[in-house]
Symmetry: C2
Subunit: 122 residues, 2 copies
């Protein structure tokens, strides 16, 4: 991302420390990467979706059962499932008129359980 070497820290620049800044920039992730990372965490950053993912991490469930378990309306659940589906965090299969959802990302399972651990031990 940064091609030039870091110049000496001559510090004409107010408080900024050019050399430190230059080093830090070299080690920083790109806008695009940061955005993608944020995207994943954003999906985990909603109470309803946390509940959905957590119950799906235990067993496959159909939409109306998810709604019953987390006590939310079918429509709200369905909207959230769409987001999770689009991001491929959940998998679904159709069986007759029912749609069965389950967790489809071991990485997310791990992040989720770490998040839960985190709040349980502090």
């Amino acid at each position: 991302m940064q091609t030039k070497e870091c110049p000496d820290d001559i510090c004409e620049q107010l408080c900024e420390h050019p050399q430190t800044i230059c080093l830090a920039k070299k080690e920083s992730i790109s806008d695009n990467e940061a955005q993608q990372v944020a995207e994943i965490f954003k999906l985990l950053g909603d109470t309803t979706r946390v509940k959905i993912l957590q119950v799906l991490s235990k067993r496959e469930l159909c939409v109306c059962d998810i709604a019953a378990v987390i006590e939310m309306g079918q429509s709200a659940v369905s909207h959230q499932l769409r987001l999770l589906r689009n991001a491929r965090l959940v998998r679904y299969r159709r069986e007759g008129k029912m749609a069965w959802y389950s967790l489809d990302d071991e990485h997310v399972r791990s992040l989720l359980s770490q998040g839960i651990d985190h709040i349980k031990h502090r």
Copy 2:
């Protein structure tokens, strides 16, 4: 949360599967827990904050250096740092007129690096 045993799955209830729902409820986290988990991930779910946390994971930086590195205004950075400070994800120390920030949560360091790994390998 659920004190009663799960009744047999007599299924008078439309599509819902009472026994499955009952079991799933027993294994589900509380509203409060889900909210706290979401709270953490919400903090990781913004591009600017991901960038801030990522650069702070490498080294301690003062506010205006953070702003320079991630190329954002001082005010925006300061506002975000407040959120991170309140959640104790970052630590800060004052040195004269400067404020030095660093990452203060190994759990978050781990979540962050997993998030970055995740998007890099897919």
